[in-house]
């Protein structure tokens, strides 16, 4: 049997682009452009890191959940986030990345995670608001990724989006329950929404005019909509939910625009977003220190497991 002649790169690229154009899936063994691979690894890793760091703001309230039912719901949710992290690291590994290496990049600050998790959670209402607004925004960002061109990633996203939708409904339900409770609870919910509304809008990234990589990612089928398109979709979806809840969104410019058939809204504080992205947000240092400490404190356990496995393998095959 002779090996088939290696097809020229141009031909491979043409085949790759045809698959993407047909909205079919690229699989791990398929040829792909290096830039596509690199971009995907970075995006998937960043997404995985976000799930892992995202365990902290909500995890902050597990010990203080005010009912046993809510404690179970919250613990299960944070556990799901760990699970999402696991799928996503696996998806990145199908592209040749190494989980330990990605973890090192997270801890050293070389790779980012979603800036939303650099805001503090300051009351139990924040658990609900993160479910409603933050998971809601994440879903808007992620649903299109379920139709993304890279198979393992898009399949992981299908599962993740399903669970995120469940979390979002639970968050909204918590807020609804609190709004039917005491005045103090209603005030907690409103305060929480005041703090998380703008950061949620910033989750869609900078305005399209400032987003240089969007075009290439859309061409590769990694991204399907621009930041501003998704942001608008999120606002349009959320405003009626806020009304049903009975909370005020903290934006005086928010108003229905019958001509566009959409809501007009104000400009997020992009300077604050830049501060947070550049490492200066309220919790950046805390989140990374927490992750680093867990990683370092666990090193001896991972080493023990590796040593034990190596010895067991040696005994099996003497």
């Amino acid at each position: 049997m002779t090996a088939p002649a290696a097809p020229a790169e141009a031909e491979l690229n043409a085949r790759f682009e045809a698959v993407v154009a047909a909205q079919e899936r690229i699989e791990p063994r398929d040829w792909m452009p290096e830039g596509y691979r690199r971009t995907l690894i970075r995006q998937i890793a960043q997404h995985a890191h976000s799930e892992i760091i995202g365990m902290q703001p909500e995890g902050n309230w597990i010990s203080r959940a005010p009912s046993l039912r809510r404690k179970a719901i919250l613990l299960a949710k944070v556990q799901d986030e760990a699970g999402h992290g696991l799928y996503l690291y696996s998806a990145a590994e199908t592209l040749g990345a190494d989980r330990a290496d990605l973890t090192r990049r997270l801890i050293s600050g070389a790779q980012k995670y979603s800036s939303i998790f650099n805001y503090p959670t300051l009351s139990y209402a924040d658990v609900g608001t993160i479910g409603w607004l933050v998971d809601g925004a994440a879903i808007c960002n992620q649903v299109p990724l379920c139709r993304g061109s890279y198979g393992p990633y898009s399949r992981a996203m299908i599962r993740i989006c399903k669970e995120e939708s469940f979390h979002q409904r639970q968050g909204y339900e918590l807020l609804m329950t609190m709004m039917r409770g005491t005045d103090a609870q209603r005030a907690m919910v409103q305060d929480s929404v005041n703090r998380f509304w703008w950061p949620s809008l910033m989750m869609f990234g900078p305005p399209d005019t400032d987003s240089p990589n969007t075009a290439q990612s859309m061409a590769w089928g990694i991204k399907r909509h621009t930041n501003d398109e998704l942001r608008q979709r999120f606002v349009d979806m959320t405003v009626p939910q806020a009304e049903a809840l009975g909370v005020t969104l903290p934006d005086p410019d928010l108003a229905w625009n019958p001509e566009r058939g959409s809501y007009d809204f104000g400009e997020p504080d992009w300077a604050e977003l830049r501060a947070v992205i550049s490492g200066n947000g309220p919790c950046n240092a805390q989140r990374l220190a927490h992750r680093r400490r867990a990683h370092e404190d666990g090193a001896w356990v991972r080493e023990a497991a590796a040593a034990f496995a190596a010895r067991a393998a040696g005994e099996e095959a003497p």
């Binding site: 892992i52 365990m55 902290q56 995890g59 309230w61 597990i62 010990s63 203080r64 959940a65 005010p66 009912s67 046993l68 039912r69 809510r70 404690k71 179970a72 613990l75 299960a76 944070v78 556990q79 760990a82 699970g83 992290g85 696991l86 690291y89 139990y124 918590l174 329950t177 609190m178 039917r180 409770g181 005491t182 103090a184 609870q185 927490h290 400490r293 867990a294 404190d297 666990g298 090193a299 001896w300 356990v301 991972r302 080493e303 023990a304 497991a305 040593a307 034990f308 010895r311």
Partner: protein
Amino acid sequence: RADLAAYCLMLGDDALVLAQRLAEWCSRAPELEEDVTLANIALDLLGQARPLLARAAQADPGAVPALPPGSPAPPEDALAFFRDEPGFRNVRLVETANGDFARSTVRLLLFAVWRLALLERLRDSRDPVLAAVAAKGVKEVAYHRDHAARWTVVLARGTEESARRVRAALEAVWPYHDELFQSHPVERRVAAAGVGPAPEDLRAPCAAVLGEVWAAAGLAPPEVPGLARVGGRAGRDGVHTEELGRLLAEMQSVARAHPLGSW
């Protein structure tokens, strides 16, 4: 019925307090897989605690702390969040601080071996709720036990550092072990009524299971007596360690700040 309530609180509080401790690991475990597993174990225990607390409330409504009129908190939450420390009837073992991963592992091992032996016998309880909780719990706790036993062996036979740590953990946790088998008058009466096993009867089967783990791990528990009591009283009597007060202060803080809150 007061005995049944007290007995349900003992078993429910053991599960609740250990679930609270295990949940503290969340986002701090040595690897992601372990984050998932420890959360699962905590969820299982929380799932056992809830019907046990509800059963305690049903058997003896007088055991439930009085809440302000209009409070929507169900009895399980009244018991979990508005009971003061001396009303908690868990053994001291489950409230001890997590320490490092070795210590949490050994603590879980000692607890799960005992609880599995208990639940296996409790499946035949004359109380239908206890029997149902036990029937469901046996599979869960068997997994907890196996998980803790596997890690105990891995750590003991891993590196020098891990072996040192697991020995220190055993040294630290072992004095809390004996309390599980010291029977309380409530347990004796409950056993006489055919509702639960006698705690001393669990001693030999637990020792046998642990013996296998020690053998596989090459470990030996220290030869020290159980931790002294306070004037004859310990966890089952509501006399705890200093750790529990802080655990409850944190756990109950939001619920107590909003006694009329709906969650």
